[in-house]
């Protein structure tokens, strides 16, 4: 997919208009996963706007975003950065062989108390 197609896809499936962003950085101030991401929520917004999507797709941050919606809740401009991060993650996972987690990994992770919910959500987040 060309970069402009990627931008279009991300805009469409996220429903986010990055131009609404006023670059206040509240999303990154609110983010509990900040230190686990090399690109931070506010950067996702500006990098999607400027078309630097490949870099985002290759970043670890798309798998460490907790989808806790703190950025969505607190954004004064209703930009919803979490939806952008999700859209970049989807664009990545939907490519052949890009699954971030495979079923064969699971047995090693499982412990006595791990709820099904954790596995289900991880699969939803990490593979297509």
């Amino acid at each position: 997919m060309s970069n402009s197609d990627l931008m279009e896809t991300i805009g469409r499936i996220s429903g986010v208009n990055p131009r609404k962003c006023m670059k206040c950085g509240k999303c990154s101030g609110a983010c509990p996963a900040y230190d686990e991401m090399e690109f931070h929520p506010h950067q996702f917004v500006s990098m999607v706007e400027s078309g630097r999507i490949d870099e985002l797709m290759n970043s670890r941050g798309i798998y460490t975003c907790l989808s806790c919606f703190a950025c969505v809740e607190r954004c004064p401009r209703s930009v919803e950065p979490a939806k952008l991060i999700e859209a970049v993650r989807c664009a990545c996972l939907r490519r052949q062989g890009m699954d971030h987690m495979k079923p064969e990994h699971i047995p090693a992770i499982l412990d006595e108390d791990l709820p099904q919910q954790a596995v289900t959500s991880a699969f939803r987040k990490y593979r297509k």
Binding site: E36, F69, V72, V119, T120, A122
Partner: protein
Amino acid sequence: MTFSYFPGCTLKTKGKELDRCGRESAAALGFELQELAQWQCCGAVYPMARDEIATRLSSVRALAAARDEGRELVTLCSACHHVIKRVNGDMKKDPEIRDKVNRYLQLEKPYAGETNVLHYLEVLRDRVGFGEVAKKVTHPLTGRKIGAYYGCLLLRPSKELGFDDPENPRILEDFIRAIGAEPVVYGMRNECCGGYTTIENKDYAKKNVAKIMANAKACGAEALITACPLCMYNLKENSEDGLPVYYFTELLAEALGLKEADA
């Protein structure tokens, strides 16, 4: 008062206590949770991408089933509540998603968000009333200092969930008061515990949990309650010397005197 009930995958397995105590307390409080005849896992995370249709279907099946029964749909698990309520919102407000889902499901009667989705706590607050709950309490948890742990899924995004004030919620605090205990308000109660990342990166989840625990302890909490099995797991497993954590329904059952009964 009878509600359709969506237990969700975890409440049938690792989170049995949340479910069992919830149902028993419901009976004691005078309402019934009628489990949907057929339900499938909601998927545990809400599909934010607008073109994800398949991942919305199981929620819509549950919603349509509740509609056909003519009842409100109650969930206990925070994640199920989050997913089903938001998918319901999509079905109500997003014509494109609604149309695609309905074409896919071929229901007898297309679904358009008619069902009202309630969390068990909302039932306690809005249908039963915490005042009534307090009246039914036989074994008040007097003197116990309990911190409510909301996490993220119950509250946010508040525009869609409309559950409580997302930054200074009080529904669990009111609940704690209703069962005779003393609520401890602490700032981290609506911050994320690390969620599903515990599968991949335990240390990361531990860091989040440590902050929450430290804050709850510093504010004087002696135990935490939650409505989410994943939060429960994270708070318990990923904390070295953390506070005890309970499902809120466990304490509800205790306060209603249901604990000895089955002991």
